[in-house]
């Protein structure tokens, strides 16, 4: 049984709010870069970038990060950084930048930890913040999102599914029991 938690409008508003909060917290958009975590985080990062362009008339760089090779269930110590980030696309320097990592759901925190490792492998940003559309709790690591679209308390048996219209034909967040 799927239950709709956020519809298109609510999802739009959550992203809008995150965007404003990013500007508020960073006192502007200078030095800001967005990195979306594959797959849906990328589209969310792009949407945040679109909003920043509308709002501040500035193009904030958007990169994409594939953390498959950083997951803790993958033997990765032997791989070189180049290989590990081969499927990522970050065509800009992150040295001294304020990085905003963007993902769809924050759950155990393992994905984010992997993403943090990957970002640190690539360069030395001045700060890293995390923006997620949904925070569903059940953290296994001490990781906290700086910008949250919606807190959705959930049981571990449930699944949270985020749909983005770019690849899913609709915008929605559903909870599946």
């Amino acid at each position: 049984m799927a239950k709709l938690i956020l519809d298109k409008m609510a999802m739009q508003r959550a992203l809008t709010r995150i965007t404003y909060e990013i500007v508020e917290k960073n006192k502007g958009v200078s030095n800001l870069v967005l990195i979306g975590i594959k797959t849906r985080g990328i589209f969310l990062a792009k949407r945040i970038a679109d909003r920043l362009r509308q709002l501040e008339n500035v193009d904030v760089p958007v990169g994409t990060l594939d953390i498959t090779n950083y997951r803790d269930d993958v033997e990765h110590d032997s791989l070189s950084t180049d290989v590990k980030i081969a499927n990522s696309e970050i065509n800009f320097s992150i040295e001294g930048k304020r990085v905003i990592l963007v993902d769809d759901v924050l759950y155990t925190g393992r994905t984010v930890r992997a993403a943090l490792s990957a970002v640190m492998d690539i360069g030395r940003p001045s700060s890293i913040n995390l923006a997620v559309l949904v925070d569903r709790g059940h953290r296994e690591l001490p990781i906290r999102a700086d910008f949250v679209g919606k807190n959705i308390p959930s049981s571990q048996k449930e699944k949270i599914k985020v749909y983005v219209s770019e690849i899913d034909d609709k915008d929605a967040v559903e909870i599946i029991k």
């Binding site: 799927a2 709709l4 519809d7 298109k8 034909d169 609709k170």
Partner: protein
């Protein structure tokens, strides 16, 4: 943002029928100009011989074929279009589009479906998928279930409550529906249903009979911006088909919260279906609880879409074509007479539009005349006013086809019959409701009995009071004033008081009562723009200015009835187009919301008014047209206009009056069509009348073959005889000479008549010569007959054209199969190659 479309395949609406009037052709024609503006090449498929759209597209790009899967697939293979536009072809075209999606043809040929994504089209065409989508977005739908025992029914009712509708299901027996308001009735219905051995399953659903029916029409662009164009409120509750209901726009009895809830629901549904273009959604609203159900989602053009366009002044047909091509609302450029913000401003009205349907029961007596869930009307008329009463009165006025300005009387009906008709409404329902009020039924009583909101009875009562006052104070200044305020035109006042209309006009003059024409536009007076649409009211400010250039007033046909009416609308449209080409500013007067002739692309000014003497005189007085075109069947109007014509205005009766026909006999098999100009009698072609039975009576001439079957042997003889028979002193224009082929094979002369409207339309299609245009030019003195001769000589026909009438019998549950020419509702056209030779040099 527009997508790159070079060639679009446009699916036509097919022959007109019940539920499918000229509105599809009107919408298609309106969007043609949008496609042209975008530089898109249009390929058009339709087999409606009365399509005006087809006249506006290069013949090489038209396929005269039925819109079905096989034909459209063939055309796709041949023409390789980039995109397909099905939204103005009605449900049939949408179903063909669906088949094209299912079969993979669109995908294989890389053809884009405009208006809705293929996946979502499937959802809207498949009831189960639509229901689950609506459930997913938390919209209410009527609960229904198939059950096989009583327990199932009880469980169902425990969930959704009473009332419910129980319908036994059987594949080979007709079954009745039971409406169950109480548990006893439910038990009764179930035991009856299950008592038959052939019934194994019963469908049970929530009953919404008596709910208000509300319709919403909106547009949406690719990016997701939306505008709610108009809300429409059916006066009649659920239980009477929306197509048979009296409709008010804007909604009259919804509180803000209810209206906004439905508006939001409309947008949510349009978003979830990713509509780019227009969408029409129907709701059932319980006015006690404000709960609602979604009852129908139509992501394509419907009657109501066009009614919303007429009611709001927002050009949906034009705008939605751009939306389907990928333009955003904020990118669409309307013609410069519109305010540039109009496409993305939500329309707001300072007028009221009332639609009253027109039913075919006089022409098809052998049918159940009760209004129910099956649509039976064949046309509709609208009345527009600045008050509810005025709009209602004008709509009633427009929906009556009596030559005189008077509404039928039902005062003699006995009480039992009145009550019976209140509960089981017939087409005269509005008159019955008013009669009941007149007899002292209270508004609450009537609201309870009919489930019509008491508001409407308040308004009807006002109308009755006004009428009573007028009746009691004949020829007084104040009564004329009251009459005007309540939509009784000068003509009606004259009839009520049994005086000549000039007496009323004299009072107007003395009392300075001036009719004012208000512009119908979508900003309630906020924006200065020219929609060119006007309606009358008696107020202070007149907004319609006469043209400085020479102008022509064309009187339209009003609501569609059975008979040649959709062809007549074609005729009216072609008159307008020709007059425009001849340098006239054109003015149309009509009240049929589905009329092609009323779309804004076809004339410089549109008056939406009852087509009656008083209203026409008002317009003539203001516009002072140089020419007036009047249809031949309006004898009273023709007489009165000629009599009052004191300013040398030219009055042309076209299409010609059939009453001047002369016959020696009453049956015919063939005819010759000639064009008579001065002393020239030019034979054009011959017809065979294809009758399905052996009945050759004139009234049964409904199917045609052109040229005649045996043209090779007989045509030249008949041409010669026709020429001899026609006295050019008496006959001018497009003249038909009829013959009857007797047993010996000889053709007996039958009679002469003006060529009928349907045949004229067919003739234009088959000869490639626009005969309406030629007639118009002839009567305004702009015809060079040598050009007609040249055109006739340059033809090289190689095929038969076959036009067959369509009848509404099946749709309205009549047992008849074949009808006469007063009962046809539309026609279809096909071509068939000659077995040998061509017919050059006639």
């Amino acid at each position: 943002m527009a997508i790159d479309i070079n060639r679009v395949l446009l699916l036509g609406g097919g022959p007109t029928n019940i539920g499918n009037e000229n509105e599809l052709d009107a919408a298609t024609l309106a969007r043609l100009s949008a496609l042209k503006k975008n530089g898109t090449k249009v390929i058009y498929v339709d087999n409606n011989p009365f399509s005006v759209t087809a006249e506006e597209i290069q013949p090489a790009n038209i396929y005269v074929k039925e819109v079905n899967f096989a034909n459209v697939t063939n055309i796709i293979n041949k023409e390789k279009p980039d995109a397909i536009m099905a939204t103005t072809g009605g449900l049939n075209a949408m179903q063909v589009a669906w088949q094209l999606v299912e079969s993979g043809i669109l995908k294989d040929n890389n053809i884009k479906l405009l208006g809705i994504k293929p996946k979502n089209l499937q959802v809207t065409m498949d009831n189960e998928q639509l229901r689950s989508l609506l459930k997913e977005i938390n919209e209410n739908i009527i609960a229904s279930k198939i059950i096989s025992d009583e327990q199932g029914a009880i469980d169902f009712v425990r969930d959704v409550g009473l009332p419910v509708i129980v319908k036994p299901l059987s594949s080979n027996h007709d079954t009745n529906r039971f409406i169950c308001n109480t548990e006893e009735e439910l038990e009764d219905a179930l035991s009856k249903s299950f008592s038959y051995s052939y019934i194994e399953h019963v469908s049970i659903e929530q009953s919404i009979v008596g709910y208000k029916e509300i319709e919403m029409v909106g547009v949406r662009d690719q990016k997701g911006d939306k505008v709610l164009v108009s809300g429409l409120e059916d006066m009649d509750p659920i239980g009477i088909h929306s197509g048979d209901s009296i409709i008010f726009a804007p909604t009259q009895t919804l509180i803000n919260e209810e209206y906004q809830t439905l508006r939001t629901a409309t947008f949510r549904i349009m978003d979830s279906l990713g509509i780019t273009g227009c969408c029409h959604i129907q709701f059932a609203l319980n006015s006690e609880t404000s709960n609602y159900f979604v009852t129908k989602v139509s992501p394509f053009f419907t009657r109501s879409t066009l009614l919303a366009e007429k009611a709001s002044g927002y050009p949906i047909s034009f705008i939605s074509a751009f939306l389907e091509m990928g333009y955003l609302l904020t990118e669409i450029k309307l013609p410069s007479r519109f305010n540039k913000f109009t496409p993305f401003m939500e329309p707001t009205s300072d007028h009221i539009v009332v639609k009253i349907p027109v039913w075919p029961f006089e022409d098809v007596p052998e049918t159940d005349k009760h209004l129910n869930t099956m649509m039976k009307s064949v046309g509709s008329t609208i009345g527009i006013g600045r008050s509810v009463e005025e709009a209602l009165m004008k709509a009633m006025h427009s929906s009556q086809f009596s030559p005189r300005d008077i509404l039928p009387s039902v005062t003699n009906m006995d009480e039992d019959e009145l009550i019976n008709q209140l509960i089981h409404p017939l087409s005269s329902r509005i008159l019955i409701l008013m009669e009941a009020l007149r007899r002292g039924y209270s508004t609450d009583e009537l609201a309870e009995l009919t489930k019509i909101d008491s508001f409407y009875f308040y308004k009807m009562r006002q109308l009755i009071r006004a009428q009573d006052y007028v009746n009691a104070h004949p020829l007084t200044k104040h009564a004329v004033d009251v009459g005007h305020q309540y939509g009784l035109g000068d003509g009606m006042l004259a009839q009520l008081w049994h005086v000549n209309i000039s007496s009323i006009r004299q009072i107007n003059l003395e009392s300075n009562f001036n009719v004012t024409f208000k512009q119908l536009e979508p900003s309630a007076g906020e924006m200065i723009q020219d929609t060119n649409i006007y309606y009358s009211s008696y107020e202070l400010e007149n907004e319609s200015e006469p043209f400085e250039e020479k102008s022509a007033l064309v009187i339209g046909r009003g609501g569609n009835q059975l008979g040649p009416n959709s062809a007549a609308d074609y005729y009216t449209s072609e008159i307008l187009i020709t007059l425009h080409h001849c340098g006239f500013k054109t003015i149309i007067m009509n009240n049929n919301p589905n009329a092609v002739s009323l779309i804004s692309q076809l004339s410089n000014k549109q008056y939406i008014e009852p087509i009656q003497l008083g209203n026409i005189l008002n317009i003539i007085e203001l516009e002072k047209p140089d020419v007036v075109f009047l249809p031949g069947n309006r004898h009273f109007l023709a007489r009165e206009l000629v009599r009052r014509n004191n300013r040398h205005m030219k009055i042309v009766v076209l299409p010609a009056d059939q009453k001047i026909a002369t016959f020696n006999a009453r049956q015919a098999t063939n005819s010759v069509i000639t064009f008579v100009d001065g002393k020239d009698v030019l034979p054009i072609t011959t017809f065979s009348f294809l009758n399905d039975d052996s009945d050759r009576h004139l009234s049964k001439i409904i199917n045609f073959k052109e040229p005649m079957e045996t043209w090779q042997q007989d045509e030249s003889t008949l041409f010669d005889e026709a020429k001899e028979r026609i006295d050019s002193e008496k006959w001018q224009g497009l003249v038909e000479v009829l013959f009857d082929r007797n047993e010996t094979g000889h053709f007996d002369f039958v009679g002469i008549r003006p060529t009928r409207i349907t045949q004229t339309a067919l003739l234009s299609k088959t000869t490639g010569i626009n005969w309406v245009a030629i007639l118009v030019r002839k009567y305004i003195g702009k015809l060079d007959v040598n050009q007609v001769k040249d055109a006739l000589n340059n033809r090289n026909p190689q095929r038969f054209a076959i036009m067959k009438a369509e009848f509404p019998f099946k749709k309205i549950g009549s047992p008849k199969l074949i009808g006469n020419n007063h009962q046809e509702v539309g026609s279809s056209l096909t071509f068939e190659n000659f077995s040998s030779g061509s017919r050059a040099n006639l």
